[in-house]
Amino acid sequence: MAYEITLLTTMAISVLFALSLNFISGFCGQISLGHAAFLGTGAYTSALLTKASVPFLLTLPLAAMTAALLGVLVGLTSLRVRHDFLAITTMGVAFLFVGIVRQQDFLGGEIGVSGIPPTGLGRVGFLILAISLAAAFAAFSLYVRRSWMGFVFKSIADNEDVARLLGIDVPRYKLAAFVVGTAVAGVAGALYAHHFRFLAPDSFGFIESVSVLAMVIVGGIGSVWGVAFAAAILSVLPLMFQFVNDFKLLLYSALLFAMMRFSPDGVAGLVRRFLVTGPRNRG
């Protein structure tokens, strides 16, 4: 039973993390190559706070805030500039994050942070919390898709010059997407820290950032169900099969390539074509 709980908890955290990137990249069309840095910001924030005896649940909003604060900083410097600049900036952030954390003694340096206290919720309680947060954000994402905000995001992802001509304050919307996405990544990070109860800087670098982007693209960029499904599967495969873990980057890259080649709209697109359901871009 303990093993299943571990798998399910890992899944739920990955779903939350992947959906947070989906909000930025899938909804608003802004590709981030450094999303793991925000996961890491939340993870370190929460871990250091609980180690200082702050109650775990209280660290969740604080983890969201520090991650979003970094998000605002990155967003303000890059979102006003044109199209693909965010991808480059965020990639830099991923490397910087690892580089800086490694140098800081109070963040555990190279060795990382260990001895993160238990949450007091118990393993099942923690699992329920993780699933609830993932489900709540999935529901919020689905709501946003139906709202005028989702409508605006779709126009920005499509052609931001046109969005501007329709009176849309494009930088502000991009920043809003980025702040929501990074804040939620921070929450996922707090869960991550207390799930593994050990943090190493390398867990939040470029490779993790590419992995989560793979989840979003394999699932079907923008599709809440597709991304949740892909994140759930791709997050536990390395835990269940040693060879997947050994060749993770290779396998995920191959999967990413195959998806982009044969089904650019991901698993969600495959399912949609198979069922030939309703309007485009739903689900």
Binding site: W148, M149, S155, N159, L166, D169, Y173
Partner: protein, 249 residues
């Protein structure tokens, strides 16, 4: 007559090319001004200066007396400008109806928070359908842009600009890509809008229709203002005739 837009001595250079040179133009409330000139005269560039897509090296543009320097494109649109572009730019992942609906809903899209608090689109869709019907493409409302010929997309551009309920409607060659009958219908619509009080700046190569519906003409040649005045007088101007014959030769 209250002045809506004032262009003062605007110059735009792209590297070595001077696209607009010392352009000045004033548009009063309710006017319909035809803006003509040979290919490459800098007409589209001047439109882009008005909407803020292109920054002029010199000169300024005032909207209802307010200098718009440093205003973003979206701010200008919210202040009352709307442009139907020469090169059509539909949002490709959306039907024509959705393209226009997004513009109709500009009240809901003013800020991220407002947009998050609203989901209903019914009323905006009704208005959008009416606008598409008005420009003659109501039947194609639910089609995706990629499936439609240019004439439809040109008219969608016009419907989308109208959806913004602008103080000043900027039209960049709205008749291009339309057949003679469709062009005439579009020109009639522009004239009707003008009669209803809409202020319009119309770039158009179809001189027959321009002369038919525009009481006033502004002519630009090689980036320079050539003539500005009553249509009959401008068309009788030898310099204007030369510019056109020169371009045709």
């Amino acid at each position: 007559m209250a002045e809506i837009l004032s262009i003062e001595d605007v110059t735009v250079r792209f590297g070595g090319v001077t696209a607009v040179s010392g352009a000045s133009l004033s548009i009063g409330q309710g006017e319909l001004i035809g803006f003509i000139g040979p290919n490459g005269a800098g007409k589209t560039t001047l439109m882009r200066v008005i909407t803020g897509v292109v920054q002029p090296q010199q000169g300024r543009v005032l909207l209802a007396g307010r200098d718009m320097a440093n205003w973003s494109v979206s701010r200008r649109v919210r202040a009352g400008l709307a442009l139907a572009q020469q090169i059509v730019q539909p949002l490709h992942d959306m039907s024509l109806l959705e393209n226009v609906t997004l513009a109709v809903g500009m009240r809901h899209t003013a800020s991220p928070l407002l947009s998050l608090l609203h989901t209903a689109r019914g009323r905006e869709q009704t208005v959008a359908r009416e606008l598409l019907a008005r420009v003659g493409i109501g039947d194609a409302a639910d089609a995706l842009p990629a499936t439609l010929p240019l004439g439809f997309l040109k008219r969608m551009e016009v419907a989308r600009a109208l959806a913004l309920q602008p103080k000043l409607l900027l039209l960049d060659e709205p008749l291009a890509g339309l057949n003679q009958q469709e062009a005439r219908a579009m020109a009639d619509l522009i004239a009707e809008l003008s009669r209803q009080g809409q202020t319009i700046l119309l770039i158009e190569h179809n001189l027959r229709e321009v002369i038919r519906i525009c009481p006033t003409l502004y002519v630009q040649d090689n980036g320079k203002p050539l003539a500005f005045g009553q249509t009959q007088q401008v068309m009788a101007d030898p310099a204007v005739r030369r510019a056109y014959l020169g371009a045709a030769a």
